[in-house]
């Protein structure tokens, strides 16, 4: 009996929370249309790289590989995409190069941690340092994108008040981020691939017994996740801006890690967490100079709010059990 009540309660939460947020957003919209729209659009603009970065982490960790090199993956991708696009005068080549760079860094992480069984945290830190080194060492100023990335208005959907302007009047990578999250959510929890991925992250020896090649699957997943990190980096240098500057990720890769955990390793919750962060950020800059408290306190808001929410909600979220541990066949786990 209690079980059913809990079940109902959980589903009520899962549907009720987004609904409440939506209602609140539209209430706000009716109070001040321009401010609400611009703040929501700003929130999503800010959230896109965080969503993509955090999803990179989700795929890795669900398969049992901790990835703290997301910052480095993003930075390399931002560098590669921008300079390739500038050199070849082709946006497509640029985006491809960015994604390839993300994949290459993912492959590197996979090789060191899965194949060579190196400590995963060290591998991630090394990726970050290497990325900073390479991108500043080879950086040359003066390059320029041939044209700007297109801005798309999705037919019909972009006409919806508030939501349309927030999510459907954007560039291709932002749209990709919006699409990939539910797809990944479905894949993770409703497909064979997802089941296997979760199995190798939770209980690899059981998965192995069931005939899954644990290390190969981990390898492939980490490499594939690189696509998302690559897209995140490309977004930074080609879509959100049209320039590359040294260290332009500005800690977003680490923030993405926090959002991954905040989102409890679930793709849709990751989107919600990233949006929350983006909105808090938009609120902070909107309130600057309006409320009569020091500007710094307002800008602290998102960080303090996140801590408070986590402390109060204290969803005892649990990391995948086997993450961080290399799988060696025949050695328990």
């Amino acid at each position: 009996m209690a079980g059913i009540v809990t079940w109902q309660f959980r589903h009520l939460l899962a549907i009720g929370t987004p609904l409440l947020i939506l209602i609140a957003a539209y209430l706000f919209y009716f109070v001040d249309q321009t401010v609400a729209t611009s703040m929501c659009a700003n929130a999503w603009f800010f959230a896109v790289p965080l969503v993509l970065g955090a999803l990179t982490g989700v795929i890795g960790e669900r398969s049992g590989v901790v990835n703290i090199g997301i910052e480095g993956q993003m930075l390399t991708a931002a560098f590669a995409s921008f300079f390739t696009a500038a050199a070849t005068k082709s946006l497509v080549a640029g985006v491809a190069a960015g994604i390839l760079a993300g994949v290459a860094m993912g492959a590197f992480l996979a090789w060191t941690t899965v194949t060579a069984r190196m400590d995963q945290i060290i591998a991630g830190v090394a990726i970050n340092i290497v990325a900073t080194g390479i991108t500043s060492f080879f950086y040359k100023s003066g390059a320029q994108l041939p044209v700007n990335m297109p801005q798309w208005n999705v037919p019909v959907l972009s006409k919806i008040p508030l939501i349309g302007e927030t999510f459907f009047q954007t560039g291709p990578i932002a749209l990709f981020a919006l699409l990939i999250a539910p797809v990944l959510h479905f894949a993770m929890f409703r497909t064979r691939w997802g089941l296997r991925t979760r199995a190798i992250g939770e209980y690899p020896s059981a998965a192995d017994t069931a005939g899954i090649n644990v290390n190969r699957m981990r390898f492939v997943n980490v490499v594939l996740a690189g696509i998302l990190a690559g897209a995140a980096g490309t977004y930074l240098s080609m879509e959100a801006t049209s320039s590359f500057s040294r260290g332009m990720t500005a800690g977003r890769g680490f923030l993405a890690l926090a959002i991954m955990i905040f989102g409890a390793w679930r793709p849709l919750r990751v989107v919600a967490a990233a949006l929350f962060f983006g909105f808090a950020n938009a609120l902070a800059s909107q309130l600057q100079g309006v409320v009569d408290i020091p500007q710094q306190f307002v800008t602290l808001l998102p960080y303090v709010l996140t801590l408070a929410v986590l402390a109060i909600a204290a969803g005892r979220v649990r990391a995948p059990a086997a993450e961080g541990v290399p799988f060696i066949k025949g050695e328990g786990q």
Binding site: T34, V35, T37, S38, M39, A41, N42, F45, F46, P49, S136, S141, Q144, L145, N148, Q151, E165, L236, A240, T241, S242, S243, S245, R246, G247, M248, A250, G251, R252, A282, A284, S285, Q286, Q288, G289, Q295, Q296, T299, L300
Partner: protein, 351 residues
């Protein structure tokens, strides 16, 4: 243990071999001719950045351009150092003073303290502190010149232009960290806009502290996007790469250059930030390279005096917008610039 060492020995040998195979070709590296700066014939100029890179499209780059400008006329030997962190400023300056450089230029207010200290210890070397206002009560070294700029005047001038350009009655600014060099520009901008258009609304936002306030172009772009959709139609980007991100966003938006405009900062960003050209009407300039070159020229002929030196500010050319801005607007702005320069107009900016 012994066997391990034997096994690893080839690696060392390889390392040494690789290192050695350079021979004399690499020799002193690229252009590191051991110039003797202690002799009176060679005029040596060293520049220490504030931790940003020499190609930062802003301050350091402009100061270095000033050095380059003076290089030929003085026949000088010039080098620069990019310290990695604040702790390294003093050691970086010392590298130049140890080699008896004739002039050492330090860039940015963060390097002010070590510059003052070094000037006191090396009376034979001339020091130029860019953007460093000296407290002449305390600092009396005759070999130290602080080069500062009335940024509020440049801000006022572009603000005046913004007030005339806006159709929506709302102008904005995306700022780096809330520190005096940035505030001066912004408050000048605010005052200028209000002067030309009393009904104008000026909105400005500062980057949150922590992180990289001057190197977060994505944040700048996001804030610019927000201001644009809230009806702002002129945006002033103050704060290195963060501001550049904002200008970039305006340039990409629809109506860039016709209904929406952006204004650059520190240097003429028409040259340093070509991606902003679609909207870039002008830039609020600190004439850094001119100031540096002028002071270096004085150092060269021995007339450089210690103390504070007030450089010039101005607004850049309108470039492609020259024929798009109405003549009466241009005339009014020119008038304001002139009055600011001769002191008949005060910005009344207080920090």
């Amino acid at each position: 243990m012994r066997s391990k060492f034997v096994l690893s020995a080839p690696v060392f040998v390889l390392a040494l071999g690789l290192a050695g195979c350079g021979g004399s070709t690499g020799g002193a590296g690229s252009g590191a001719t051991p110039t003797d700066c202690s002799s009176s014939e060679t005029f040596c100029v060293g520049l220490v950045t504030d931790g940003s890179k020499i190609d930062d499209k802003s301050f350091n780059q402009a100061a270095w351009a000033g050095v380059q400008k003076a290089k030929d006329s003085l026949g000088a030997y010039v080098r620069y150092i990019e310290p990695a962190e604040a702790k390294d400023y003093a050691a970086s300056i010392k590298q130049f003073t140890d080699q008896k450089y004739d002039v050492v230029i330090t860039v940015g207010f963060l390097t002010a303290d070590p510059t003052v200290a070094a000037a006191a210890q090396n009376p034979g070397t001339k020091f130029i502190g860019v953007d460093q206002l000296l407290d002449t009560e305390k600092v009396k070294s005759p070999n130290l010149t602080g080069l500062t700029f009335p940024a509020d005047q440049a801000g006022y001038a572009v603000g005046y232009l913004a007030g005339l350009l806006t159709k929506t009655g709302k102008v904005g600014a995306i700022n780096g960290l809330e520190i005096p060099p940035v505030q001066k520009y912004f408050k000048g901008y605010e005052a200028g806009a209000k002067a030309s258009n009393p009904k104008v609304e000026v909105v400005g936002v500062y980057h949150p502290a922590g992180g990289q306030p001057f190197n977060d172009p994505v944040w700048g772009a996001g804030e610019a996007k927000k201001q644009l959709s809230q009806g702002v139609d002129v945006i002033f980007g103050i704060g290195s790469n963060t501001g550049n991100g904002a200008l970039n966003e305006v340039a990409k938006s629809s109506g860039a250059g016709t209904t929406r405009f952006c204004i650059g900062v520190d240097v003429d960003q028409w040259g340093t930030l070509p991606e902003a050209r679609p909207c870039l009407v002008t830039s609020a300039e600190k004439l850094i390279s001119d100031g540096v070159a002028e002071l270096l020229g004085q150092a060269g002929d021995g007339t450089l005096k210690g103390g504070n030196f007030l450089g010039k500010t101005g607004i850049s050319q309108f470039h492609d917008f020259d024929d798009k801005i109405p003549a009466d607007v241009k005339a009014k702005v020119e008038d304001v610039v002139k009055k600011l320069a001769d002191g008949s107009l005060q910005t009344n900016v207080v920090l």
